[in-house]
């Protein structure tokens, strides 16, 4: 029975497919796989926006939205209606075609990456054997759309925002990819499905998630930091810093196109989080062997929501980084650490299982992390700032 519930969507699809004439089978199969994703993730986006606003509010001792519907849960609908009914303004000097294409491309690229994310057991749109590569390749198209948006608007703010965004995205794409290399090394495959299957087994009750190894943990943390930067979220929200360049590259967009940028940004965040889950947190696998009766997609979305919560929490806590801090952190800390982490994963692979390899790899990572963080701090003196008038 649990097996049945777990596979219910897959069975449903097979059942529906039986009614489709043979020539239409491939198209019908694609539609049946894609449409649920196209519904589920924008829905998650709607839920996340209200959760984020409420959570941030509580962290700042406010209520957050609580007017539309019970406890304000219908707020996203109000937002949606509002952005749909607003005027769509295109600046007169803007590059019309590119200005129009940028948000479209952003959303398309953001949706495309979901093709390789296994949402549950046997639930993936396309099981490519280069899945991880596909993810990063399509993800890099987001940068291009950001550039297009920033450049075509012909506004100084948006150009500055685009410059910042691209500089940041290029710098953090490196650690993002390098952090996931360790998993590819361990799994010996670029296919997301294989990677999850490798992690979906248990010794006694404990799962074989990669995050429970020293290199996996380091990789996970690095991946999440880079993912935060990739999705332009706090504390890496320089490109859209509201207080300096208002909204960065999408300042000249209004109405529905603005909403599309918002959607694209959140979809990107979900996608990288889902990738982190797939790579390090066992994808749809249950955290304990005795919990496998809970359907796999429930686990996937539970993990995804947890990561989203963490994102919101971080956003409520940290101030924005400065450009030089951002770059220093990427190139002087993240990049070397992710390289060392790859060495650690290699050592782990070739040493016999046991306590010794745990110790050696952990030491390697911890010591290099400490050294690198000292290197970041070198030449800077920190002091408590005093104010002449404010205090």
């Amino acid at each position: 029975m649990p097996e049945m519930i777990d596979q219910i969507f897959v069975l449903l699809k097979h059942w529906l497919m039986a009614y489709v004439p043979g020539t239409l089978q491939p198209i019908a199969s694609a539609v049946l796989s894609v449409v649920p994703v196209l519904i589920a993730f924008p829905l998650l986006f709607a839920i996340t926006t209200v959760l984020e606003r409420k959570g941030l509010g509580r962290m700042q001792n406010r209520y957050g939205p609580n007017r539309v519907g019970p406890f304000g849960i219908l707020q996203p609908m109000a937002d949606g209606i509002k952005s749909l009914t607003k005027e769509d303004i295109i600046p007169r000097t803007a590059d019309q075609a590119v200005h129009f294409l940028a948000p479209v491309m952003l959303v398309i690229a953001s949706f495309l990456v979901y093709a390789v994310l296994p949402i549950g057991k046997n639930m993936v749109i396309a099981n490519l054997n280069t899945g991880v590569l596909f993810f990063f390749a399509v993800g890099s198209m987001v940068e291009l759309s950001v550039f297009m948006a920033g450049w075509s608007s012909r506004s100084k703010y948006s150009l500055l925002g685009a410059m910042r965004a691209i500089a940041q995205m290029i710098s953090y794409e490196m650690p993002l990819v390098l952090a996931s290399v360790v998993v590819i090394m361990a799994a010996g495959s670029l296919s997301t499905v294989t990677i999850v299957n490798m992690q979906a087994s248990y010794t006694r009750i404990w799962p074989h998630w990669y995050v429970f190894t020293p290199w996996g943990l380091t990789g996970f943390v690095l991946f999440m930091i880079a993912a935060t930067a990739e999705s332009n979220r706090c504390p890496f929200d320089m490109p859209e810093g509201e207080s300096e360049i208002i909204a960065g590259y999408y300042i000249e967009y209004s109405g529905f196109k603005f909403a599309l940028f918002f959607l694209g940004e959140y979809l990107g965040m979900f996608a990288t989080s889902a990738m982190a889950i797939t790579l390090f947190l066992g994808g749809w696998a249950a955290p304990f062997s005795f919990l496998t009766w809970i359907p796999s997609y429930v686990w996937f979305f539970a993990k995804l929501l947890t990561i989203i919560m963490a994102f919101i929490w971080i956003r409520g806590t940290l101030p924005r980084l400065r450009m030089d801090q951002l770059m220093n952190f990427a190139w002087k800390f993240m990049l070397p650490l992710s390289l060392i982490n790859i060495v650690g994963a290699g050592v782990w692979h070739f040493m016999p299982a046991g306590f010794a390899r745990w110790l050696i790899v952990s030491l390697l990572v911890v010591v290099s992390c400490a050294l690198l963080s000292r290197g970041l701090r070198r030449g800077k003196s920190f002091y408590v700032r005093t104010y002449r008038f404010a205090s």
Binding site: R58, N61, Y63, G316, S373
Partner: protein, 202 residues
Amino acid sequence: MLGEGILKGLTETARNFLGSYVNKDRLTTVQFPEERLPQIEATRDFPFLVYDGSDWQAGLRCVSCQICEKECPPKCIYIEKSKDKKPDVTGKLQFYPTTFDIDISVCMSCQICVEVCPFDAIKMNVEFEMSSEDRFGGLLLRKEQLAKSNEYYNKIHPTEAAAVDAALAEERAKVEAKARQAAEAKAATPAPVAAPVAGETK
């Protein structure tokens, strides 16, 4: 070690987050339309006209001297003075405003009109929920909208209104005493011409 401060910050926000659910004191937001803070006595926003007694048309204190109209910095008061005179509350014949408009979309709540009015006829209101769907006429308040009773004034600004009432009463007493004296003097010396007291305007 890198990240120590971040952890500290994270615990702080987590405490805020959880605390806001258990400790009501943390959420200082007042949920406005349902909850309201008690009004502070010195609140003021837009002017209104005070009348004595129960009939606003008869009891309006304003004598249409137009000082406020001239003094108002953004010139948002518009007064038309009457041709005839009507008795005010004390029975004295006075001019009165046939039109008295204040455009509160222009008014900047400076209270200068109140300061300059020699008759304590114009005072500051506390009404602030005045949004209107009519873009052009909705915020132009007419005489009948501006007229508020002295009781209302006493309710919104008790201390200030008491002082004003006392001053007015004193003045009236003085006038009455003078009138009585004059009457007595008239009674003592049978003068041929009786001074018409009630005819004075100022």
